[in-house]
């Protein structure tokens, strides 16, 4: 009976072959470390956000007079409403944590290199969509920080030459952030995640075409690949539960960690909070915005600081595989970059005093220099490494890749 049904389906839909090709026989490098778990985790958090978000939307009211109250209604009167809301608010932070770690892995191991440029670029689009969704979602509780954050960020579009003022008006639907803004942000906050799902699908199709990268940086021989199921289903599941332990520890025991005090005060357009701080995941970019004295320049630098990741496959000119593992100069730059981003993040929390501005400018220059010097640094580094003699492990890796390419496997 079951086999007849399966045969009926398979004549009309490639069910069995799909499961085989993408799951039970899908080859994955056996040497993946836990750094390769974060893509799966990002998918899990996306699902969590969509499910919790749909339930929140059932009780939330996108109206300037009701929004704040409806969140408190969810927190106090909806059965387990506090849980749904804390899952969603903590989930937003978890999403960025997971995505940033996913990106850090890609940068460290050079996973953005050929033939995975489209994975990196579709990932970049995903990052932008997640940022937009998070930004719009942050307005919905209609607290002081929601309101003023949206006011500040939408006003940045006013720096656009020629059409600035009209653009801001068009985005807000009013002269200031108001009911029209709240309504459209809610509509788009609900919509964009589904666009995001489509992008995730594209990301996955590309992944299953080029296959997963791995710490060695080369495409492994067939004997070094193992089927996704059961080896990586169990590994990803284990990683997911470890992640869940940390995630639920925050949800149940420190759920207000990621909620600014000022956001527990209803939005008041007549009273600006003493200092406006974005959510932690925007802090480094916010620090870059503030480091530039000119609004247009600052907004442009902030935009470029997010988009510049997309240029990595073009900027990294080295032909050595394995990313930072075998490249001491690139590795030093990588750690410098991570530290620089943490410094920028810290500066983003501080009131813009003189020293904050100075350090912010230095950190901004370092941020962009690391990207812009990479084409030369990566070339010079490779020449130097080759002259000095490549490590034997790397030579072996490269030789095995050459052999494979020659034998056409």
């Amino acid at each position: 009976m079951a086999s007849t049904l399966l045969a009926w389906i398979n004549r009309r839909f490639p069910f069995t072959s799909f499961v085989r090709n993408e799951l039970t026989d899908y080859p994955v490098p056996r040497n993946l470390s836990f750094w390769w778990n974060f893509g799966f985790l990002a998918g899990f958090v996306l699902l969590l956000q969509i499910v919790s978000g749909v339930f929140l939307a059932m009780h939330y009211k996108p109206d300037v007079n009701l929004a704040f109250d409806s969140v408190q209604h969810i927190m106090r009167e909806v059965e387990y409403g506090w849980l749904i809301r804390y899952l969603h608010s903590t989930g937003a932070s978890a999403f960025f944590a997971v995505i940033y770690l996913h990106m850090i892995r890609t940068l460290y191991y050079g996973s953005y290199r050929a033939p995975r440029e489209l994975m990196w670029w579709s990932g970049q689009v995903l990052l932008l969509l997640i940022m937009a969704t998070a930004f719009m979602g942050y307005l919905l509780p209609w607290g002081q920080m929601s309101y003023w954050g949206a006011q500040v960020i939408t006003s940045l579009f006013g720096a656009t030459p020629m059409i600035g003022e009209e653009l801001v008006l068009w985005l807000r639907g009013d002269y200031a952030v108001g009911d029209a803004t709240l309504n459209r942000f809610f509509a788009l906050h609900y919509l964009v995640p589904f666009v995001l799902c489509v992008m995730v699908l594209i990301h996955l199709v590309a992944l299953h075409h080029v296959k997963s990268s791995n710490p060695s940086g080369i495409d492994l021989a067939a004997k070094d690949n193992i089927p996704f199921h059961p080896y990586f289903t169990i590994k990803d599941l284990f990683g997911m539960v470890v992640f869940a332990v940390m995630f639920f520890a925050v949800v149940f025991f420190a759920p207000e960690t990621f909620i600014e005090e000022a956001n527990n005060v209803p939005a008041d357009p007549l009273q600006t909070p003493p200092h406006i701080v974005p959510e932690w995941y925007f802090l480094p970019f916010y620090a870059i915005l503030r480091a530039i004295p000119d609004t247009l320049g600052g907004a442009a630098a902030m935009t470029v600081s997010v988009l510049i990741f997309a240029a990595m496959p073009l900027l990294d000119r080295s032909s050595l595989p394995g990313g930072a593992r075998y490249r001491p100069v690139y590795r030093a730059m990588f750690y410098l970059f991570v530290m620089d981003v943490l410094v920028l993040g810290y500066l983003g929390t501080q009131a813009p005093e003189a020293w904050v501005v100075v350090v912010g400018r230095v950190a901004t220059i370092i941020y962009f220099s690391i990207f812009l010097l990479l084409p030369w640094v990566s070339k010079i580094e490779e020449r130097w490494l080759r002259r000095r003699g490549l490590p034997t492990a790397l030579q072996a890796t490269m030789a095995s890749e050459r052999r494979q390419k020659a034998s056409g496997v």
Binding site: Q72, W82, I234, K235, V250, T349
Partner: protein, 214 residues
């Protein structure tokens, strides 16, 4: 492991900030025992409600604090169980009197940096200078009067008693801002316990499955 270190770094960096900023606030432990909460609720309904409201609390919610029937009846003073804890002074009257509407207190314990410590410090920072003017060290010029009478406390004993009252009030405010905390943490232990056990089992299973590779 490295991922854990990075994540904990990020978490630490974000949680450290309020602690550093709250350094000027009184470093007291906020009680959460039933007796404190009950005394706090009594002070809140008899004193705070004179000017402030708790619009997200209903009288019925106060039953969760374990009052006896007589205590609860005198507390609610004939109010409907579903009635919100609104201020005795209507907003427009308050605006005429003080120039501002006193803020709603439902979320006050989470609405200022330092949370309950902020409110405690405010309540115990009133003083009267030589010219007889009463002001506040934490928020100079604050329009809220010294409701507990801290500035006129004559003896250390009196001051200690008022500090205890302030603690009771902030204990109640903390509960009012997060009335589900007990339910949340109780559920949290079960969820985390389950997940840790589940993770351990999955780890064993993972080892076993990967052992097939030799």
């Amino acid at each position: 492991m490295r991922s854990l270190r990075v994540l904990s770094g990020v978490l630490l960096a974000t949680t450290m900030m309020p602690v550093v900023m709250a350094a000027v606030l009184a470093d007291v432990e906020i009680p959460s025992d039933e007796a404190s909460l009950q005394r706090g609720a009594q002070l809140a309904t008899s004193v705070c409600l004179g000017c402030h409201g708790f619009k997200y609390l209903r009288f019925g919610n106060l039953q969760a604090l374990g009052f006896s029937d007589e205590q609860f009846d005198s507390l609610r003073a004939g109010q409907d169980l579903d009635a919100a804890l609104d201020s005795y002074t209507p907003a427009d009257v308050a605006r005429d009197l003080y120039g501002v509407v006193p803020p709603d207190l439902s979320l006050m314990a989470k609405a200022r940096e330092g949370g309950p410590h902020h409110v405690y410090t405010l309540l115990t920072s009133y003083y009267t200078d030589e010219s007889g003017v009463t002001d506040n060290h934490l928020l100079p010029g604050v329009r809220m009067p010294d409701v507990l009478g801290y500035s006129s406390a004559a003896t250390p004993g009196e001051r200690t008693e008022l500090e205890r009252q302030a603690l009771d009030v902030v204990a109640f405010l903390s509960w009012a801002a997060d009335p589900k905390v007990e339910q949340r943490e109780r559920l949290g232990y079960f969820v985390l316990g389950y997940l840790v056990l589940f993770a351990a089992l999955l780890y064993v299973l993972k080892r076993r499955i990967w052992a097939r590779l030799g």
